[in-house]
Amino acid sequence: MAADSTKSAGSGHPYPAAFELTSVSVGTANQPILRDINVSTPVEGILAVAGPSGAGKSTFLRLLNRLDDPVAGTVKLAGLDLRDWDPATLRRHVAMVFQRAPVFAGTVLDNLRVADPQVTDDRARHVLDHVALPTELLDRPADRLSGGEAQRMSIARALLTAPEILLADEPTAALDGDARRAVEDLGREIADGGVPIVWITHDTYQLRRLADHVLLLADGELLAFGRLDELDEHPDPLVRSLVGADKPTPTDGAPL
């Protein structure tokens, strides 16, 4: 059912895919990483996941494509327990990009072929174009790309699996200013194009530029979840400070 309704994503009516976490815990009793998380997140546009370092943001994200399993609780996507998905199918449905883009051996084209062994030259050029990389890069050894180029290549690679949702684990943390903005703009474009993104960030300014919804974690626990403008008015000063309520919201990247 989910798959059918998401096919209309391109027409501007994305299926509101939802991650539903029930009593989710990760880690041991002595060293909990996430504790009793209960949240239902409609994934539309960009959902920013933020919180102090060590809050469990990466672990949270890795539950969503099952790179890790919780020790307790369930994670559902569109009403279906992730354990009932075939893991490979799930991960093509819910793609992920990392803080440091994994660069596989070989050329950029070889890298794209890992995602889609049958990728045609046309399609490969098209996805490079989509992430604003020059198509001449296709035959370039991938380890010669700059950090920003490698990250955009990894996004192109992820898009080749035709995901319905994209997970992004601090994709700009290793990049400098211009490259960071280029990846942010690309993220916004992908989200507006109907592939919602769950985006971890530790950068409050970036959060304000990108977030439609925000999920805050602190010390392994869910601190708050809601629209950015709602959290700006939150009674807890820690929440207001984590979303940077006192900082100006830029007009270009902001939600409506």
């Binding site: 790179l67 399993d69 893991p87 490979a88």
Partner: protein
């Protein structure tokens, strides 16, 4: 044959060379005197025992079952040594045992199957000893490499898993590198043989008075045996281990 007939006095005289090694250790303050002396004594004791025990398997009228008991003990200790020198996980012991069994079955199967040697106690035990003794280092190496790779190449492996590859495909490049690393030293040794090193089997036969050309033919079969067995053991070990590094949900386990 008398050239090689050295008595206990001869052994004691060659022991002077141990005194040289101990002398170096004292002179350069290596702190290895006790270790060297212990290693030398232990080797002497082990080999004396083996010499006596071999009497029970090499004579033509010795029952073949003694040879097979010897084989079983040898396999068991090789697996135990691998387990001790590599990761001390129960699966390492089981997989190593399987790997050595596969290797001795394949390689000795070829040598005896094609009638290169007559299957008697005099051939079975020494040849199996060569198979296992020479495979041990490579098996320990490939085991340690794979556990290390599961940590060091986590980014690459999980990058592939996140693209929807199954564990076998995601691990294939890592497995390939580990196997190459384990095999290359043996290939190099094979190339250099005769030029920078006169191999043990040949030296032993010549010292014992055999015709050098006979000795060479035996040595060549032994070299090929070693190469074949190293390849078989490391392949079985790494393929088996690769499965153990992942969960059924295609997640890369953590080994700390």
């Amino acid at each position: 044959m008398n050239n090689a007939d050295i008595g206990l006095l001869g052994v004691a005289a060659s022991g002077l060379l141990i005194a040289v090694a101990v002398g170096v250790s004292i002179w350069r303050q290596l702190g290895l005197e006790a270790t060297i002396a212990w290693a030398a004594l232990r080797a002497l004791a082990q080999l004396l025992v083996v010499g006596v025990a071999l009497q029970f398997v090499v004579d033509d009228d010795d029952p073949l079952v003694y040879a097979f008991i010897w084989l079983a003990v040898m396999h068991f200790f090789a697996a135990y040594t691998t387990y001790r020198r590599a990761r001390q996980q129960r699966m390492v012991f089981a997989l190593a045992l399987l790997a050595y069994l596969a290797s001795s079955t394949v390689t000795l199967g070829v040598l005896f199957g094609f009638g290169v040697y007559e299957p008697t106690g005099r051939t079975i035990v020494p040849l199996a000893g060569i198979v296992i003794g020479n495979s041990l280092a490579a098996t320990v190496l490939v085991t340690n490499r794979l556990f290390a790779a599961a940590n060091e190449r986590r980014i690459d492996i999980e990058g592939r898993l996140a693209l929807g590859l199954n564990a076998a495909d995601a691990f294939r490049p890592t497995l390939r590198d580990a196997l190459r690393t384990a095999l290359i030293p043996q290939v190099e040794t094979t190339k250099a043989v005769g030029i920078i090193a006169l191999p043990g089997a040949m030296v032993g036969l010549i010292l014992a008075g055999a015709d050098p050309q006979d000795a060479v033919r035996v040595q060549v079969s032994v070299m090929y045996l070693v190469l074949g067995s190293v390849a078989t053991t490391t392949a079985v070990m790494s393929l088996g281990l690769a499965r153990q590094l992942f969960t059924p949900a295609q997640q890369l386990k953590r080994f700390d």
